[in-house]
Amino acid sequence: MTQLERIWAFADKHCIVNWYDFSSSRINGIYHRVDGQGFIGLSNTISNRPTLIKCTLAEELGHHYTLQSGNYVMPCFSYADQCGLGRCEKRALRWAADYLIDDYEFIHVGQALAKQECLDEITALASIFDVTPMIVQAKMEALETRGML
């Protein structure tokens, strides 16, 4: 079972996942909750990009698990638009990063890249772990917070 299949099964179990034709190209996905039921909407524009599907699903699931009870709507934007994230988005991204990447494996690979004097560590790590650069950054922040980096 691939990581995408695993997260898809997980999301499907806890939320209602739908594909949708968002007219805005910067919306990759959206999470919203009504009376306790979580909904994840994925943009059809990312349907042939497995890495983006996986990361968007993980981030939206992050909202599902990190938001308090109540009714919410949280859009997930494409990487280029994810600057100046708010607290909720950061929490969701961190949840996604921890779900998708193991702490020790990340540190091990990061150290190996540092030895090779890799110039673009974030892009390299994103490629190795098959995630978006935002997830890599969130993982780094999470490890820093935990005093592991």
Binding site: S24, H32, Q68, V73, P75, F77, Q82, C83, G84, G86
Partner: protein, 147 residues
């Protein structure tokens, strides 16, 4: 960016003469680590207005602004008004579809949380999607019940 906080019109009565509101507002702003300018931008008012709310001397927010403040800080309006010490917003279970949609628009119209605020078209798009899922979910539930 999220939807929380409900309140009824009667709560606004509690604002008049309450010393709690200015203190609570200032304290929430400090906790969130935002400036008066940032709050003013999120609420769509001037910085002086926010300063006025915090000083408690002149200004009091109207109904709509009070609701925006509660949404912005994710607290209940009762907490803002000093009627409770529990900041947790009400659970908002069983909102009417219209009320939910209204809150979607209000929450998405705020610019906090993302670099660029959503455009009107994007908000309409999201609203359309939410209505679509609501209808689909309702039909699926009915189908299950019938079978």
């Amino acid at each position: 960016m999220f939807l929380t906080a409900t309140h009824s019109a009667i709560l606004i009565v509690g604002i008049g003469g309450s010393l709690m509101f200015p203190e609570r507002l200032k304290s929430l702003r400090n906790q969130k680590g935002v400036t008066q300018d940032e709050v003013a931008n999120a609420l769509g008012v001037s910085r002086a207005t926010v300063a006025g709310y915090e000083s408690g001397k002149k200004r009091e927010p109207d109904y709509e602004t009070l609701r925006k403040i509660a949404d912005y800080f994710s607290v209940s309006t009762d907490y803002l008004l000093g009627r409770t010490d529990d900041p947790t917003p009400p659970s908002d279970e069983h909102l009417t579809p219209e009320e939910y949609d209204r809150r979607v628009v209000a929450a998405l119209s705020r610019s906090d949380g993302y670099g660029e605020p959503l455009t009107k078209e994007e908000i309409d798009d999201i609203l359309k999607y939410i209505r679509w899922t609501r209808e689909k979910h309702r039909m699926e539930k009915e189908k299950k019940r019938d079978s």
